[in-house]
Symmetry: C2
Subunit: 337 residues, 2 copies
């Protein structure tokens, strides 16, 4: 039962994770932003029952969580491990229905009534879509999704109309970034209807050379098409990232990578931003075979984020957190195998 960031079997140093999200709305109910509190309660009950009463263990085993019952730290920790979007955390009267490994989640009462999300490690768009589609079909057995034969699935925001699908991959592209090749590549990617963003979605900045690439278009394009194209983009970017190795000063890069390792394994104070940048170098070092031992930088990158730490160790001031993070990283950045 591994989450995307702990699943070593499907680990990919360039495509860290795959995400499929389907936006769905129930017929005969106002869109969330127009809902009354009573409407929201009704929506949650309907979805909760649809899941609970399903004959399929795929969704009947999911755990229903009313977000009102989740402490703020835990909500923010969920954002940090990409279970929910930062926006979802701000919605009132919402709920989430989660698989134990958090790979499947159904967000209830976000921008749309329902958002089905599947997150997996590595490049697994087809697998993830297959799971999401099954969940979609199972929910549709008891819930009636708003669907128009011309427009497809109806969504609150027109950018989701049609398939309601958002397929995305989180990629680590440090060499394309440092050699400034990424900008022109992003322009080309945009031309074919995909967009490149920071790791926490729209409006977020890139850090640690992490980029989220997703389809922009949901209308007039099939799910298969979107997924195939994104798989191709991710594969090509991976290749280009690898090709860029020939253009960099190897010894300088090795120096940076091993210094990062030395600092992470020895520091006593570590901010989240510095940790991300250093772990980014470790990930690159592993991908390039510069680091020979095996480490799990992405796991650590998630596990030592501010709210993830406070979820484990209780409230901490920022200074205390940086000390605790250094301790946590020293303890966990050890060769595995």
């Amino acid at each position: 039962m591994s989450s995307w960031y702990t699943d070593k079997d499907n680990r990919n140093f360039s495509v860290l994770s795959t995400r499929i999200r389907l936006a769905r709305n129930l017929g005969g109910m106002p869109f969330p932003y127009k809902m009354t509190d009573a409407d929201r309660e009704e929506l949650k009950t309907k979805v909760k029952n649809a899941v609970k009463n399903s004959n399929s263990p795929l969704i009947s085993t999911l755990k229903y969580i009313d977000m009102a019952d989740v402490p703020d730290t835990k909500i923010k920790a969920m954002v940090e491990r990409h279970v929910i979007s930062p926006e979802f955390a701000t919605f009132k009267n919402s709920a989430i229905i989660l698989s134990e490994d958090e790979s499947i989640s159904i967000m209830v009462g976000e921008e749309d009534h329902i958002r089905i999300q599947v997150v997996l490690a590595g490049l697994q768009l087809e697998n993830a879509y297959e799971i999401a589609e099954q969940v979609d079909r199972l929910l549709n057995d008891s819930l009636e999704f708003a669907y128009d034969s011309e427009l497809g699935f109806l969504t609150e925001c027109p950018t989701n109309l049609g398939t309601g699908l958002r397929a995305s991959v989180m990629m680590h592209l440090p060499l394309l970034e440092s050699t400034r090749k990424l900008n022109s590549l992003c322009e080309n990617i945009a031309k074919i209807g995909f967009t490149v963003r920071g790791i926490y979605g729209e409006g977020s900045k890139s850090s640690a050379s992490l980029y989220q690439i997703s389809n922009q278009i949901t209308l007039g394009i099939s799910e298969k098409n979107a997924i195939d194209n994104l798989t191709l983009i991710a594969t090509q970017l991976t290749e280009k990232e690898i090709q860029t190795e020939d253009e960099i000063d190897r010894i300088s890069l090795e120096d940076k990578i091993f210094r990062a390792l030395g600092i992470l394994q020895n520091c006593r104070i570590l901010t989240s931003a510095e940790m991300m940048n250093l772990l980014s170098l470790i990930n690159l070092g592993l991908r390039m075979g510069i680091i020979k031992e095996d480490y799990e930088p992405v796991r650590l990158l998630i596990d030592a984020k501010p709210y993830m730490l406070m979820d484990k160790y209780g409230d901490l001031t920022p200074d205390e957190r940086d000390v605790k993070r250094a301790e946590y990283v020293r303890e966990h950045l050890k060769p595995t195998m």
Copy 2:
């Protein structure tokens, strides 16, 4: 047979080394700056014979080296390990007479005809003076030193007149430096006739928080007095350095110290300046007991200097040297016992 920087028995993390230097000139011979080549040859032969023909193994075992026979790299490496002064390296037609561990050296044809130097690890001014005095007496048996009953030993530069003694200690004072207490302490030290300089003597800058403290006055003050006062100054500075621990942010310092260790043990490129600053932190960490394993930072600081490296590995460009230095440091910065 340990040099000052490899002698663990007398190691002192605050007073890294002790140096005694006696300036002597032969009667009936012009001062070096007025000497002809023939004079210089005569001087070298006289001193060489005085040493060789001595009945005392203390000086008869010393090795005579004509500096003209020493390759440039080896000369600069001698400067780096403080066997000779940077100025001595520039004199033509000079010679050095050295003990195997390089603790005793007799420089011939520097600013004065003869400079007897004794360098020991830690704070050992009395010991070092005793050895220098013996060498002085033994040489005087066959060489006639220019001496005036009022002025004492005659020297080329009036600042050495009298005892001809320069007693100095090399101290590591990182906390007094970082808390800016050292400046006012230096002013007080100057008032009692001592001076604080960078580690390569007059005009050199301090780096890695290393300071050389020596007597300024040689006339009208006994050797014992100079040595006792310097011992007192070194002891007091050590105490003040230790007291300053209470004023610093411990966790920040620990962070800096352990990062230094992590970088030194992992880097692939290391300049001499960065190495010195990082080893300075290791030395402080050892003194304060923050680092529990035992390392020899001062030994490494000397052994990995540019010419010391080239003396071991042959000519290297500055870039190659920084890579070799990183390799050397990684290999040698391991806990010892």
